[in-house]
């Protein structure tokens, strides 16, 4: 077993353990913090895959923005956070069953695929994945249209979120 494989296994165990804590912890603030550690594990997986830019974006966007947004939302809805009732449904066993079936089905289906045990080819010397990614995002015969549509989607989501979460009673205090 090579060093890279041992590192992968450690990162995978860390990521999966944190993910299990995210879905089982009672306290939602702790769940959000476990989500941060899961996202760090995923960023490390990206770094192992030589996707440097994606790893940095994962840390900046997921951990820096989305996880913080979750912590804000948990604190704004704090009253129900640690209530006496159970945190999971009474038919949670069905969820376990469906998840295990999905996992088993995915692995069974992938095992039939010929590229399943393929190892990665060496990266060519001087390979510049960030430059290629930037060119692909703005080149007219690659992905410039989805890129611009994504920006419009973000704008629409921004306006929609402000509209939905706007509190008319608190917002009109200056009128």
């Amino acid at each position: 077993m090579t060093a890279q494989q041992i590192i992968f296994i450690l990162i995978a165990l860390f990521t999966l353990g944190s993910a299990v804590m995210v879905v089982t912890t009672r306290n939602l603030v702790h769940a959000a913090l476990w989500l941060v550690s899961t996202l760090f594990g995923v960023a490390a997986v990206y770094a192992l895959l030589n996707a440097n830019f994606i790893a940095v974006v994962q840390v900046v966007i997921y951990i820096g923005a989305i996880a913080i947004l979750f912590i804000f939302a948990v604190m704004l809805t704090r009253k129900d956070m640690r209530d006496a009732g159970p945190q999971i449904n009474k038919n949670w066993w069905a969820g376990v069953l469906v998840s295990l079936l999905v996992f088993g089905g995915l692995v069974y289906m992938l095992r039939e695929w010929s590229g399943f045990t393929k190892t990665a080819s060496e990266l060519p010397p001087g390979f510049d994945s960030i430059g290629l990614l930037g060119e692909a995002l703005v080149s007219p015969n690659a992905y410039v249209l989805p890129f611009e549509v994504a920006s419009v989607l973000l704008l629409a989501a921004l306006v929609g979120a402000v509209y939905v979460a706007f509190n008319p009673r608190a917002g009109n205090s200056d009128k």
Binding site: L16, A51, I88, S99, F127, L132
Partner: protein, 102 residues
């Protein structure tokens, strides 16, 4: 080198854990946390397929960037809905939001 199967199995396991969170948790914010886990699993798959096939075709990385943007939109709108629901109905339990049920 790590075989491709390890990444795919890690992504499948992460997806299943997130799916359990979505199906079993009662709190709406916790359901969104499960959705985050599922989206991350998909992203691991996209980036690993980029790495294990032609590295000069950037489709996998571009797709994962688009997934990042869509996730940010989804989380902002979803959490705004949860906060609005908390303000109007004073609950974040998904079972209690049944105005459309008859």
């Amino acid at each position: 080198m790590v075989p491709h199967s390890w990444y795919l199995i890690l992504a499948a396991a992460l997806f299943s854990v997130g799916m359990f969170g979505v199906l079993a948790r009662r709190n709406a914010v916790a359901i969104l946390l499960g959705v985050e886990l599922m989206l991350n699993a998909v992203n691991i798959n996209l980036v690993s397929f980029w790495r294990y096939s032609d590295v000069f075709s950037m489709s996998g990385q571009v797709f994962s960037i688009i997934v990042f943007a869509v996730t940010a939109a989804e989380v902002s709108v979803g959490l705004a809905l949860v906060i609005s629901m908390y303000r109007r109905r004073n609950t974040v339990i998904a079972n209690d939001v049944d105005m459309l049920k008859f």
